[in-house]
Point group: C2
Chain length 348, copies 2
Amino acid sequence: MTVTLADVAARAQVSPATVSRVLNGNYPVAASTRERVLKAVDELDYVLNGPASALAAATSDLVGILVNDIADPFFGIMASAIQAEIGGPGGRAGGERLAVVCNTGGSPERELTYLTLLQRQRAAAVVLTGGAIEDAPHRAAMDVKLRKLAEAGTRVVLCGRPQAPETGAIALTFDNRGGGQELTEHLIGLGHRRLGYIAGPQERTTTRHRLEGHRAALAAHGIEEDPRWTVHGRYDRRSGYEATLELLRRDPSLTAVVAANDSVALGACAALRESGLRIPDDVSVAGFDDLPFSIDAVPALTTVRLPLAEAGARAGRIAMGREEAPADGIAVVRGELVVRGSTAAPRG
Amino acid sequence: MTVTLADVAARAQVSPATVSRVLNGNYPVAASTRERVLKAVDELDYVLNGPASALAAATSDLVGILVNDIADPFFGIMASAIQAEIGGPGGRAGGERLAVVCNTGGSPERELTYLTLLQRQRAAAVVLTGGAIEDAPHRAAMDVKLRKLAEAGTRVVLCGRPQAPETGAIALTFDNRGGGQELTEHLIGLGHRRLGYIAGPQERTTTRHRLEGHRAALAAHGIEEDPRWTVHGRYDRRSGYEATLELLRRDPSLTAVVAANDSVALGACAALRESGLRIPDDVSVAGFDDLPFSIDAVPALTTVRLPLAEAGARAGRIAMGREEAPADGIAVVRGELVVRGSTAAPRG
DNA sequence: AACGTCACAGCAAGCGCTTTCTATGTAGGG
DNA sequence: CCCTACATAGAAAGCGCTTGCTGTGACGTT
């Protein structure tokens, strides 16, 4: 029913072995033979059976990209850059690889299961993006899994995620702490002394690092932090909206709100505006990531730009073995403070 | 080196067949035996070889989701919803399936190649999202490919894409034309008579349909359209920015700008603002899709809401065979006009 | 008491491809 | 001219799993 290698071989009057070699192009095949085979392939409309060849060759051309939330441009941008480098079709940088993105939805189980699924498929490489979950058992399980993958010959790259020592994974880590610190220092420099902070979900490394940076800045300037000034939430707009209302309730005298990321910041802006406060006149707002829409907020968002696309591209190249991994298996990617209209000095 | 089914069998003192049956759980296996096998699996840390089982069973658990631009939330939201239904891990609605999203970047070749790659993997289902490319040869090639996939037992679902007759694909089509018409009618109702239109890329069905809706509205109200009022561009912010500047250059008397989608509309807003025009006082702006950030624009964007997540979920369910396909293989999904602050009556 | 029924478990034949090893034809080299 | 070398092509042994078919006891039935 379906056309197989053997059919092509028969039609081209050669052995299956020869057809395979033509298709994989690593073994010398006479030009005339090759042509005949290609013609047969074309005529029969033959499509290689992926599983069969993966089984026989003990490798596949699948490359997995794990993201926490595919609907979030933060991940979309990275995934896009990674995929562009993997080649997928079109890249034509050697063998065609099927770059696939897997959406974990931030769930530890799904993260693990996807990894198993990829392991099952004998994926050529896996790129994990975004922050990791800090839960100890999960982390241990992940480490084991990553090590296994690496041992099985799958290249593992972390993009925007802290290093996983002893797993053989290569890490491109974002300097969330440094970025957070710089951002808050900017605010302090403007004269703010009462700053609310809307953090992401508790158990994520990204959340913790950004928050640590924020606190480091406060500490460095001798500002004592009021516990009421920090609220945790999700990395989305809604969460920013609600958290801001909560912050305002707890301490209406805040002059600045620092958000875990740009989406959260947008929600914060909405909440402030609805509360009758002006930005930045009454309250300054800052985000993180510098996603495309941040410049369109009114006023435009002060934020920390993360080179998502560049980091993704690099991760992709490393995954493909087209770029050397950084020494020690880790490279720190810095963010850059981008000051725009949403932050200003507090009113006298 | 790697653990195989046979190893597990040996350890559990059963035949490989039994292990396979325990793992696939379709054939009766005594509880005690099953337990022993599971224990062995666990102890040996066995991971099924995907390619091997796909080869033997002649099907795989891969489900492909094709998107035009993964960095665009429009696709991210749909992909997310689809994936959630596919199960991926976590869904647990039967067999675990590896839902993978493939980024075509809007390129016809990549679209086709991804389809071949998925065909090669003997994917269980494929969901194509977003508008199609109208180029006739490409379309024909796609139709052939889709038909082949369907014939090979892969379920093919189109989400937000026009029907592909005779390919066996099930379509959930967005009513872009109707939405576009309603939107422009809203503007006309407000009193606008000179409306600029920033369209998407020429060759996409989405572009054409939205534009047709727009023109239908104009025609219905006897407004003759000036060819200078339409500019084509990409579906991104940048494009909206540039196109708006161009529109303004061509006819500074426009009182409204209708954009191909929300991102474009945001760019349009930026351009207008920088040109010293106020929204909606001087110029009204409207988008399409109602992506999450649209409500945060200032003023908030009037747009047409497309139930992206719902449509995606439905497509996912159909792909999994968990929901019946619509009669005739096609269902039209309507958008809903959402009026917000960016549109108002033109100044006297 | 003999036999048909079940409920399980095992055998073995592939699934379609890759790849090692071997065979063959041709071209120089001595 | 014969022999070694090289360039190709073929034969065949798997890769690890699924599954139709074939046992084999333990029961329940006449």
